[in-house]
Symmetry: C2
Subunit: 227 residues, 2 copies
DNA sequence: TGAATAGTGTCTTTCAGACAATATGCC
DNA sequence: GGCATATTGTCTGAAAGACACTATTCA
């Protein structure tokens, strides 16, 4: 809030720009990958950046983030959560830009094919094999990856990376990919079933050359944290 | 980032304002209290608000938050962490204002007397007895209180509310005040000592009409999370 | 010696982690 | 029957939680 006339006047003439950037995760080729856009212009021309854009004057921050992802890969109703706001005065060489970073999760099966426009090149990169990145976006990805890794341990957000119906092995695989290590199957099943997040659908996934798996779904779709 | 000429042009002419607001907690009268400022002008004249102000063009967000607290109560080197960014287009009736909220902790003993300027009235309020609040500041306080309550359980941030030297009973009291319930003394001491956060100074706090307490201090001053 | 707070140990329960054999479906 | 994945239980160690008495200082 402007506390003095001087501050208020200054503020009227000079404001930072505000953007949202979205760190969109999905599991692809059994790796955790993030969607990146190749920059076509200065600054950081040819470098890769998170999808993002200016916040419109009548638009909520989360709506802006949702819009960016929808424009980029046609996904609606995905898991979306605010990550952190990055505001280093030097983070954008053009002018003062404060960015509110979000992270989002969706299963690869829900993603429409990336629309190749003339200006944009978009691609998924494994979080452990990122290309040259623009601005402070590598830092944002590291920050978001850390948050994801931690939060799947005490919430149901990992299911944002899965379709509505899934087998326990598929769930375990998500955790193994994100943690980057194998988990004991019996202990994992004990833990995930004890959380009460899941209910069995009673159905089985048959047609494969092995014992069919029971199919589960989330008991409640909203984000739940526990512990 | 501006992806089209149209967006860029629009952006040049119309930007949201960006403020920081600081939720400053301290323990006073054995209650968790937050510093609030009485608003002297429209909008919400006479309502109470978090200390805050515009982010200056060459200033980092965290520096802006630190500056606000320093101006308000003369505390430097306090615990300060970003909380959340609130950006509802309607949250400020004057214009679009996006606020990056921080929360801060300091022991009451470190706080210089609140400077009564002509324009400002400042006061501490218990988080469970807040007055009529301006903007969405009640929501910010609830959000921050929740974060604090949760984070003292897996980090050393509670010590931000204590002076450098303290007894275990004083630590326990902080936790009891924030959790709003009594904790078993033996279990608490086992837990806090096992965390490895504390080292004994070997000194005792004497002069009181009861057995003197051993004085401890933090092993490391930086923020540490565990579990 | 009475008032006030500091300091201390055991038992039980719960949860995390190590660990391997059987079941089912398809070819 | 062979292959591939699904499903299942026990034991052990660590940590959390319930619970009550003794120690020290000062007035």
């Amino acid at each position: 809030m402007a506390d003095t006339i001087e501050e208020y006047k200054k503020e009227v003439f000079e404001k930072p720009s505000v953007t949202v950037d979205v760190l969109f995760f999905t599991i692809k080729d059994n790796k955790l990958q993030a969607l990146l856009i190749k920059r076509a212009a200065w600054p950081f021309k040819g470098y890769w950046a998170l999808p993002g854009g200016f916040v419109r004057m009548e638009e909520d921050l989360e709506s802006a983030a949702a819009r960016e992802i929808y424009e980029e890969c046609g996904v609606k109703n995905l898991f979306l959560e605010q990550l952190f706001t990055f505001g280093d005065p030097k983070r954008d060489p053009r002018t003062r830009v404060i960015t509110v970073a979000y992270y989002a999760l969706a299963p690869i099966t829900e993603i429409k094919k990336i629309q190749k426009s003339e200006v944009k090149e978009a691609k998924y990169f494994p979080v452990n094999g990122l290309p040259k990145m623009a601005f402070d976006h590598k830092r944002i990805i590291n920050f978001g990856f850390k948050r994801l890794k931690s939060k799947i341990g005490y919430s149901n957000i990992a299911f944002g990376l899965l379709p509505k119906n899934f087998s326990l092995s598929e769930v375990q695989n998500i955790y193994e990919v994100i943690y980057g290590k194998k988990i004991d199957k019996r202990n994992f099943r004990k833990w995930i079933l004890a959380s009460g997040l899941l209910v069995s659908t009673g159905k089985k996934k048959s047609g494969l050359a092995h014992r069919p798996a029971l199919i589960y779904k989330l008991a409640k779709r909203e984000v739940i944290t526990f512990d």
